[in-house]
Amino acid sequence: MILSILRYALSLLLPVLAGWLFIPRVWTGAKGILRLAVGAVIGVGYSGAAYFMVLCILGNSKWSIVASEGLQFAAIVLMLLVRRPAAPVPHSSLRSRSLLVWPFLVSALLTLTTFFFVLDWEALGGFDSTAMWNMKARFIYLSASPFSQLFDFCSAHPDYPLLLPSIISRTWQYAGFDSTQGPQFVASFFTVAAAAVTVSCLRHLTTAAQTWVAGCILLGTPFLLGLGALQYADIVMACFISASVLLLCIHDTTLQRRFGLPLLAGAAASFAACTKNEGIMFFVVLVSVRIVLGLLRRTFADSGRELLSFAAGASTGLAALFFFKFLHSPPNEIVHSAALTTMLEHILNPNLHIIILKGFRDNHRFGEWTINPMPWMAAHMVVSWIREPRFGTERTWWTPALVLAGMLGGYYMVYLLSPYEPNDYIHGSFSRLLLQLWPMAVAGYAMIVAPLHDGSTESKTPAAIFQYTGEHGQQSQF
């Protein structure tokens, strides 16, 4: 038991180490938990994407692990041999403390305990993990030619990318057998990482007190930890979405226009695209939002370099996705069945619009809260705007706000154009889709209520930031 847990831990330790060593090379501002959290997510994502890509090309899990571990090991050795001097961190105010860290820690304790019991209760996971993620992982791990068999039977969503099954299969290869502990380990990793990345990134974007408030809201979302413990891929999506959006928000506040953060954000966004099909929509929406913001902010040259850096980071994930979609994946059910006349009928059908809007309304309690925090969060944002209206396009919260709007619009169109019965389709999926965006939305709320940076170009000098956080960081806690 203990030996197998150690083997599972080792399977994630190497990518986490690789990510941890990689972060300071592209982002000198990341320290402590932030460096560990972002490094872990990026490292595990790259490791899984490399495994997935080799699997798509060579079609065998044994070659996949040899190639991906070889690359990873070489990267670690290279990074250990070639060291770079550490650069100073400009955010001095990040050391500020708040008593609200205590409710956050209590919340984390309650959440982790509940998580453990759900994980133990449902060793195999929920329906999606049984029918899709863990089963596909089992085919990858056990079959000599998984692609010839994976699409043989009527598996659910055969066109979904295989990043998560690849990560699970890799842990089984380390352990030497396919027990339920592998997927449980991966699910625990991504659930903790989703919260850790969001909270640690928020420490660069909002006040200490507001960070802990946002962390409490996130951990006080039972559906989030429930889906995590049931080993659904939505929690993996939430982790990658939150990482990519918040890294770009931090990039908006940096003083030196180095482009390491968009590189990391691009990597995380591409991993989301490799996890589920809606991740591809997220990738397109995020790129569109950044282009629009670049135009509105009139930062054309910087936006161009940002997009190049973003594309460089995304290249591994996108290459894996490309090989899967063009070499192996059957066509997407919705896209394949799309016909122009049917789509027009759907668009012109007012009843369908009403059904979708009602479905959206019925999912307002998607977090399975006893008390819904959203009205209180909305009130908090309104009060903060009354006190100090802050709507300039330089504001960091524009990225999560526009991504949220873009994704909701995208989901609306998918429900509208899909051939499925809309009521069942919405009720079976929309709450999980909202959950994927929830950590990012909570972070956006925190940035609106208590921004650490006022967003103006003048403030982006070290002196101005120190002055601003010194004046407002402690006073305007909320």
Binding site: T114, N134, C154, C216, G220, I371, R387
Partner: protein, 141 residues
């Protein structure tokens, strides 16, 4: 902005943050009494099914059967999707094709859900009784 409004909004803002922390703590504790169980890691339905299918699994690998049909008899008219996927999960990498999806497989795994007793079927030839209500059959030529 007048000082009074600024002070008032600041106080309301603090109050709202406090409310959010309290209700989040309340939400975080909600499911703990529901999911708490002791002892942990006990035998559950999943582990039981894995044991029931152990012989089936080893036989399928011995016979090198990569795909076979699946039929449930003595069961509900609509066999639960989740149950099918649980069995498919445990038998992977052998592909288990539901008879309703593709009726003409050379081999067929039949589950006798209620009696758990394997018996001859008119349209199939029994190859082996795999125990716990599972039987391996071959389609008649």
């Amino acid at each position: 902005m007048p000082l009074l409004i600024r002070t008032l909004t600041k106080a309301v803002s603090h109050l709202l943050a406090g409310i959010l922390v309290v209700l989040s703590l309340w939400n975080a504790r909600t499911f703990l009494p529901v999911v708490y169980h002791w002892p942990v890691s006990t035998e559950d339905g999943w582990r039981g099914l894995r044991n029931e299918l152990a012989k089936t699994n080893s036989e399928l690998r011995r016979l090198a059967i990569e795909r076979l049909g699946f039929r449930v008899v003595e069961g509900p008219a609509e066999f639960d999707n989740y149950d099918y996927f649980r069995i498919q999960n445990l038998l992977s990498p052998t592909a288990l094709i539901r008879e309703s999806d593709h009726p003409k497989e050379q081999y067929m795994l039949v589950q006798f859900l209620m009696t758990k007793q394997v018996r001859p079927l008119s349209d199939l030839v029994l190859v082996e009784d795999l125990g716990d209500g599972f039987g391996l059959y071959r389609t008649k030529q």
